[in-house]
């Protein structure tokens, strides 16, 4: 295990996806969704969904306001799962169909 691991050891299997998907903010997660191919989105979804419940159970034992960097990254990966789920489940494409150039900018979100 690398000393530079982004995720807690118990979730090292998700490490390959951490650099891309442990984004700090919603706008970054959403941009990443738009910039990814469906293959990439599906690969991430397939890797993290089976492990998501375990991740939640693990994070539930921690204080939200006192997470380590690695725990925070894991939490953010779950936010990313939420963000990409629409593309994978509903639209079969990264972008919302018929959305043209419409955008909604999240300018404030809770941290973590």
């Amino acid at each position: 295990m690398s000393a530079n691991a982004m995720l807690p050891t118990a979730f090292s299997d998700l490490e390959p996806f951490a650099a891309d998907w442990a984004c700090e903010s919603e706008p970054e997660r959403y941009d990443r969704r738009l910039a990814s191919s469906m293959d990439e989105l599906q690969a991430f979804y397939d890797a993290i969904f089976p492990r998501a419940k375990a991740a939640l159970d693990f994070l539930d034992t921690k204080d939200l306001d006192d997470l380590s960097d690695q725990e925070l990254n894991l939490l953010r990966m779950l936010y990313s799962l939420s963000t990409i789920s629409f593309a994978v489940d509903c639209f079969k494409q990264p972008k919302i169909p018929d959305s043209g150039s419409a955008y909604l900018r999240v300018i404030s979100e809770p941290v973590p």
Partner: protein
């Protein structure tokens, strides 16, 4: 298939539809005293109407500025740019804990008082005094002058003349409003009316976990309001979100019906079954179960105590949501899962507006609750995006004047009401001017 189905339902529509009783004499529209004929949508693009609307509607109504929680203690403030009216408002909590509003203008030579790097952008912060960056004049938190730089150089300055120009400011249920009239023709409580005032008892103050979205939309402000005050569009615009396996359009779909509409003076409310409604035509997704949340909110709603006697004005059962449309441009949507959304629609031109959405939850106690909220919020955002782009297409279509008369059905009564009220306000203004 060439016969127009304009009198009955098709078979596909009839299957699974949830219907609700209508009030006497048989339609919401008629029960509210509204006419049923076609309407013009000129008010959505005509530049002359836009100018009148600014005066008749926005300069004569109570306008929503923000939440009390944005001003947690004395000295906290935020500014609100009402660019279309050419004013900037500073809202500030004084030493006495009162919330006041002022024109954001220095009394010396008119410089903008509170701003950051970009004088056109909104700002917020905390201070002991309000200080002008130009010549250093200062004001206390109640807007009184407290320091004039090199004062002896002036002639006959009177303290009383140097206060920041006050703007009428009142709060209700933690929502801060201002009124730009010299003397407001009604106080806030009178403007809101008794039914909305009762909503004060709803625990808004417990829902401080907040998300904020902004966007610039190339459509008249009323078009977006209209999109959210009917469910007629839901099977088509949100088809793929509700049921990914079925084509979004081009086929007959089961209609969504609204259980109850209610009119409260200039305001209106749409009450619906939320998660309890239209179950036959909605398909949940695995992530909804994983995160225990969806469009309707966290499935395991936290306890926030009693919801008060303002919710569910029409007394439907089961109750899913109230979408209160506060005239002119604020929507407060309370969900049965104990969170609420606000929408604001600020004109920036006859065919454009700034849209602000906030999602407000009780503080999450752990990661599971946090994720349920995140997932609900992000779902709301994807839904909202689908509406946003459609509006720009609608604006183009209306402006082409290929058609100039439009038919609204009974499920679209709230649209009819909003446009009627706006028209009435504009007509009243024109009458005054002629008289």
């Amino acid at each position: 298939m060439t016969t127009a189905h304009i009198s009955g339902l098709t078979e596909a529509e009839a299957a699974g539809i949830q219907t609700f009783e209508k009030p006497a004499p048989g339609s919401w529209t008629e029960s509210f005293g509204l006419k049923t004929g076609p309407v013009s949508f000129r008010d959505n693009y005509d530049p002359a109407f836009y100018e009148l609307e600014k005066e008749a509607v926005f300069r004569r109504s109570w306008l929503y500025m923000g939440r009390a929680e944005q001003l947690p203690r004395a000295g906290t403030y935020f500014t609100k740019e009402l660019t279309f009216l050419g004013v900037s408002i500073v809202v500030i909590r004084g030493m006495d804990n009162e919330i006041r509003a002022f024109h954001n203008v220095c009394s010396h030579r008119g410089n903008k008082l509170m701003w950051d790097d970009d004088p056109r952008a909104e700002t917020h912060g905390s201070c002991r005094q309000l200080a002008c960056k130009y010549h250093g004049w200062r004001y206390d938190l109640e807007g009184q002058i407290s320091y004039v730089h090199n004062a002896p150089e002036f002639f006959d300055l009177k303290e009383a003349d140097l206060s920041l120009p006050k703007v009428s400011c009142e709060s209700w249920a933690g929502f801060i409003f201002i009124n730009l009239e010299e003397t407001p023709s009604q106080n806030l409580g009178e403007f809101l009316g008794p039914d909305l005032v009762k909503l004060e008892s709803y625990p808004f103050g417990q829902m401080t976990q907040r998300y904020v979205i902004e966007s610039e939309i190339d459509a008249n402000w009323k078009l977006y309001l209209d999109a959210f005050q009917e469910l007629y569009h839901v099977p088509y615009v949100h088809g793929l979100m509700n049921n990914p396996n079925v084509p979004a359009t081009g086929i007959d779909k089961v209609p969504f019906m609204v259980p109850a509409f209610s009119i409260h003076g200039k305001h209106r409310c749409m009450t619906s079954g939320g998660p309890f409604a239209n179950k036959k035509v909605r398909a949940g997704r695995p992530v909804d179960e994983l995160f225990r949340g969806d469009f309707f909110g966290p499935k395991d709603a936290p306890d926030v105590g009693p919801l008060g006697d303002g919710v569910n004005p029409s007394g439907i059962d089961p109750w899913g949501l109230d979408s209160w449309q506060l005239y002119p441009n604020l929507v407060i949507l309370t969900w049965c899962q104990n969170w609420y959304i606000t929408y604001e629609y600020w004109p920036t031109g006859p065919a454009s507006h700034k849209f602000v959405l906030t999602g407000n939850f009780p503080k999450p106690k752990n990661a599971t609750e946090r994720l349920a909220q995140e997932h609900s919020f992000v779902t709301t955002k994807d839904f909202t995006m689908m509406d946003a782009n459609t509006l720009e297409a609608t604006q183009l279509g209306i402006m082409s004047e290929g058609r100039t008369e439009f038919n609204l059905c009974d499920q679209e009564v709230a649209i009819r009401h909003l446009h009627q009220v706006v028209h009435d306000d504009v007509a009243a203004l024109l009458n005054e001017r002629q008289g």
